[in-house]
């Protein structure tokens, strides 16, 4: 729970991929994901080609493969779910290593696994090459609702402050001999959570006052001029464009 906990996805660097404006990268990843999802599941070679494409982007961005693989653990719950489908699935069955598996279930599992893995890998690449706050600037440029962008921005800024407050409350509980061991201790934890909520709410009010004091009028001022040039859009969109071409080859 140390400082900078939520920045561990970002890998500082100065590569082409790092330098692209965030809005270009967001659109590129989104479009790539759409192409991947639209690919028929029987087309194994297309998925292989997409993986190669991501490999090229990772190489350009100098993001090591181990870096990506280690962060893929976020996908584990989906993988477990995907493994369950062939076991509980209906329809025609095959026997693999003594296990009776459903054929449509196997296809469904492969479909989820392949597409989710590619999508997660692309998102990890985005996060590894773009600082969280810069992603939000990109979202702002893409005209995402300003309120949502501001909420995300404050979450980013105050996560550590609130975590710290939470840690202090835990220390205060434990220094008075409390240790959460079983169900009967839940009310105590719940009350702490409630207190934390109220403290955060009050902090929100104070932050709002501080913002008003410096001329805030509902809109975040534009501080960084992050406009993207046509070549930059071209570079970023090369990823989904090539993926689309691969998909088109098979038609």
């Amino acid at each position: 729970m140390g400082a900078g906990h939520h920045h561990q996805l970002y890998l500082p660097g100065g590569s082409v991929v790092h330098r692209l404006p965030p809005q270009c990268k967001l659109i590129a990843v989104f479009a790539f994901a759409v192409v991947v999802v639209a690919t028929p599941r029987e087309r194994f070679w297309a998925f292989a080609a997409y993986a190669v494409l991501l490999g090229v982007v990772a190489a350009l961005a100098r993001v090591p493969a181990t870096y990506i693989v280690r962060r893929m653990v976020i996908e584990v719950p989906f993988v477990l779910f995907a493994f369950l489908i062939p076991v509980i699935g209906l329809g025609e069955r095959v026997t693999v290593l003594g296990l009776s598996l459903s054929v449509p279930g196997l296809w469904a599992a492969w479909n989820i696994l392949a597409k989710a893995t590619l999508g997660v890998a692309a998102s990890i690449l985005l996060a590894a090459t773009t600082e969280p706050r810069v992603i939000l600037i990109g979202a702002q440029r893409l005209r995402l609702p300003s309120l949502l962008v501001q909420i995300a921005m404050f979450m980013l800024r105050y996560m550590d402050v609130i975590m710290d407050e939470m840690r202090r409350m835990r220390v205060a509980r434990e220094s008075r001999g409390f240790e959460a061991r079983n169900f009967r201790h839940i009310p105590v934890i719940a009350r702490s959570a409630g207190a934390l909520f109220i403290r955060s709410y009050e902090r929100g009010e104070r932050v709002h006052l501080a913002m008003l004091s410096r001329g805030y009028s509902g809109q975040m001022p534009i501080i960084h001029d992050m406009s993207a040039s046509v070549p930059q859009w071209g570079t970023a969109l090369a990823l989904p464009a090539v993926a689309l071409a691969v998909l088109g080859l098979g038609l």
């Binding site: 939000l136 980013l156 800024r157 105050y158 104070r206 006052l209 004091s213 410096r214 501080i223």
Partner: protein, 244 residues
């Protein structure tokens, strides 16, 4: 023209608690004044009136000739720089640079001019090298200095600091004092840290029970033990006002 003019200011909170009972004070340009008072004297309530976060129930506040009213809020907030007690409340942007830029950007400053203003403000508090760091990676003293810079960037007429020395270690406290002395702006410092008031401000006001109970040279006020005792103010143990 005075930087700040408050006359007959009274205020009651919505729940009926009366906090200010007719405050009168005036501060001339480039003066550094301490506003002293025990907890609950109405110091923070008074401060909230200076840039129109709270609006007077009765009386007026005038900043450099501009009365604080609904239609002048924008201008007044540009002129009154409020530095809050907790820098985590004041520094809400992802980096120091963005935070210092927030005020001027709201006033319409853009591009290179914005960059120049931000660097200038950070230089004045000695925090230029922290420009691209997130505020939560700075020490408490550094955060307070950046908080001062966020307000300086707006080139205010008067700087209002709420308990500037709270939670600072002795070195950070001295560094902040040096910075405040080096600025040529009007300063109103709200505090119950009496030695800090003596160090930085020639003149002090005592706010007690919602009125200005005393107004005079800091040294004279702090030497008057009866006056301090009447308003729940005390010098720290072992501290004596050195003879003039």
């Amino acid at each position: 023209m005075n930087s700040l003019e408050v006359s007959q200011l009274a205020y009651a909170y919505p729940d009926g608690t009366q906090a200010l009972f007719g405050v009168d004070l005036s501060i001339s340009r480039a003066e550094r004044v301490a506003l002293l008072g025990p907890n609950g004297a109405g110091k923070t309530t008074l401060v909230m009136h200076l840039n129109g976060i709270l609006t007077a129930g009765h009386g007026t506040v005038t900043v450099a000739g501009t009365p604080v009213r609904k239609d002048t809020l924008k201008e007044v907030r540009q002129r009154v720089g409020l530095v809050f007690q907790d820098p985590d409340d004041q520094l809400f942007m992802p980096t120091v640079r963005d935070d210092v830029a927030f005020g001027p950007a709201n006033a319409g400053v853009r591009g290179e001019e914005l960059d120049r203003v931000v660097k200038g403000a950070l230089e004045r508090v000695g925090m230029l090298e922290a420009m691209d760091r997130p505020p939560h990676h700075l020490s408490f003293g550094q955060r307070r200095r950046v908080a001062v810079a966020t307000v300086l960037a707006m080139e205010p007429e008067i700087l209002v600091l709420d308990e500037p020395s709270s939670n600072l270690d002795p070195a950070a406290r001295r560094e902040l004092a040096e910075i405040l002395r080096s600025l040529d702006v009007t300063v109103l410092m709200v505090t119950h840290d009496l030695p800090y008031a003596l160090e930085l401000c020639e003149r002090s006001l005592i706010l007690s029970d919602g009125v200005i109970a005393a107004d005079g040279p800091t040294r004279e006020l702090l030497a008057d033990a009866d006056l301090l005792a009447r308003h729940r103010l005390e010098l720290p143990y072992g501290f004596a006002i050195p003879a003039v």
